[in-house]
Structures are given as C-alpha cells and as structure tokens.
C-alpha cells in the first residue's frame, strides 16, 4: 500500500473540486438569466471537450515503437463503426474494449 494520507488527500481534493464545478453555476447564476455567451459555450464545449478527452486517452500511444498504436486505432475504429451502425452505447463500449484486449495479445 502506498502512502494512504497522500491518497486520501488527493481523493478529497478531487471530490471537492468536482463538487465545486457542479455547484458553481447554481451559486453564481442564482436567479439571474444566463448570459448569452455562457449559454453558447455551454452548447458547443461538450463537442470540443469530448474530442480532447479522446486525445487524452490516447496520449500514451507511441508511434515509434511496434505495434505503432495499431491496436488503439483499430479499436477506436471499431467503436466508431459499431456506434454509427447500431447507436447502442453499451454495445460500442463492450465490443471496442474486447477488440482492444484481443489485439494487444496477438500483436
């Protein structure tokens, strides 16, 4: 077991910051009408942020060492393909993950 004081502090900080982010709009806006610019950001940010999170997940892929990220990119392709085809979130996640787990064992 690592340093548990450190781990617990980190967990409490993550919990506090996450809760703060969820509460801030309600605390700040209160009964006022949401400004148009904030409303606009609220609409478009999810698209950009999700793209950022995908890149974030794949940041560890090394293109200079075999198998050059092939497993990751095939599996991402499988997730996209199955999702476009079936539009079933769970199915896309399960099959994509199984595909990845299989590929990293055979490549």
């Amino acid at each position: 077991m690592m340093n548990s004081t450190y781990a617990l502090s980190a967990i409490l900080i993550m919990a506090a910051v996450t809760a703060l982010l969820r509460f801030i709009p309600f605390l700040v806006m209160g009964n006022r009408k949401t400004p148009a610019y904030v409303e606009y950001l609220g609409k478009v940010l999810p698209y950009a942020v999700m793209a950022m999170l995908v890149v974030y997940c794949l940041k560890g892929v090394d293109f200079t060492v075999a198998p050059f990220g092939v497993c990751e990119f095939i599996s991402v392709g499988v997730v996209v393909g199955i999702h476009v085809w079936k539009r079933n979130t769970l199915l896309s996640i399960v099959l994509g993950t199984l595909c990845y787990m299989l590929l990293i064992r055979i490549m």
Binding site: R22, V38, Y40, A48, C57, E72, I93, M101
Partner: protein, 228 residues
C-alpha cells in the same frame, strides 16, 4: 400510472446501469492493479463520482502527482460540468432539500437523462431527476466496488480493460457528431488537443489545449450560430 416518476426513472436509467457497471468494474480493476483496494474504490465512487476523472486519478496517484496538480487536473478534466449545471438552473429550481444532492450527482450520463425530462409538474420532475441521480450513483458505486472485489480474485488476465474509458469517450463523441450538423467545435477540439499533444508533450498538453479551445470557440461563435 403513466407518469410514475419512480417507474420512469428506473426504466430510463437502465442503459446507465449497464454502462456504469462495466465502466465501474473496469475502474475497480485498474485501481486494484495500482495497489488500492476496495475501500478506496468505494470512497472515490461515492465522493468523487466522476468516471473520467477517477480513471485519470489512478495515474495521478500512482505517479504521486503534487496536490495542486491533482486539483488543476480535476479542474480541467471536469470543467465541462460547469456547463451541465448552467442548463439545469431552471429545471432544478425549487427542488428544496433534494437539490444539493441533485447538483452533486450531475454526471454526464445523469445530465443526458435529466435535461430531456418532459414532466410539466415541478414536483414530479424534481422527484424524477432526484431518483435518476440516486439510481445512477448506486450503479456506479456498485460497479466500482465489484471491480475491486473481482479484480483481486479474477483468474484471467484483464490487461486492456481500461480501454473501456477510451471507448466511452469515443462513443459519446460519435453520438454527439451524429446528433449535430455543426462539426466545427468538435474539429476544433480534436485539432487543438492533437497539436498541443505534439507541441507540449503528453504530460502538459491539457491546459494549453483548453485555452486554445476556449479562444477558438470564441472566434467561431458567429459562424457556428449562423449555421443554425
């Protein structure tokens, strides 16, 4: 009764039940592999209750990242929650004693269910949103705890199961892409993140990427709006 909030909340939350159990188990297993057991899994799923951040946190804690960096990463990864709150201000107004918990439990998946409720009656709507939040939270805690318990006892190799997080984001990204004609924000997010990853490296790219995304979205405001 057709409008029974309890029945509807449970039925609507079923896709989240399956998703959270799979992702929660994945998280519990990854956490277990890094030397943190079921107590940590329980605490994190109960108190943090944010899937992507919990996955990211495993790496942070394993690398003994400094506490300010932990706070900053949480801020960046979960910044999108600010915008979920903004669209629920009116819907959650007057929810009384249930409201603090409903705000605390406003995850991506909960938001996706509660932002489309068709309840006209305020009391029924608040009860429905509260129950969806509570059910989802229970699924998540159950999944994470189960992952920790299974992880240490699993007889086969679970290497690669952490890809379920990547798959979740790719799925949400694909779903969002299919649901809109305005692809500029998604492309901006992808381009900014990729360029920053190349320029700043994998440990430092998130913050510059967020800044560039905010600036880029500001610049394309008129173009995106004109497309409507």
């Amino acid at each position: 009764m057709k409008n029974n909030p309890l029945k509807n909340a449970f039925r609507d939350s079923l896709p989240v039940l399956s998703g959270y159990i799979v992702l929660g188990i994945g998280f519990g297993i990854v956490l277990e592999k890094n030397g943190y057991g079921v107590l940590y899994s329980f605490l994190m799923s109960l108190l943090i209750y944010a899937g992507s951040m919990q996955y990211a946190s495993v790496e942070l804690i394993a690398a003994a990242a400094s506490l300010p960096l932990v706070a900053l990463t949480t801020l960046m990864v979960n910044a999108r929650h600010l915008f979920y709150g903004i669209s629920m201000i009116d819907k959650y107004k007057g929810a009384g004693i249930k409201k603090p918990y409903m705000i605390f439990a406003l995850t991506d998946e909960t938001y996706s269910l509660t932002c489309y409720t068709k309840y006209e009656d305020e009391k029924e709507r608040h009860l429905y949103c509260f129950l969806v939040s509570l059910f989802n939270h229970c699924y998540w805690v159950t999944g994470c705890v189960a992952g920790s318990l299974i992880g240490s006892a699993l007889p086969f190799d679970t290497r690669g199961i952490e890809f379920s997080m990547t798959a979740l984001f790719v799925t949400v990204f694909a779903e969002q892409w299919l649901g809109t004609k305005k692809h500029l924000p998604a492309i901006a997010g992808l381009a900014a993140s990729f360029v920053c990853l190349v320029v700043f490296g994998k440990d430092n790219f998130l913050i510059p990427a967020m800044v560039i995304i905010l600036v880029a979205l500001g610049f394309m405001k008129d173009r995106v709006k004109n497309d409507e």
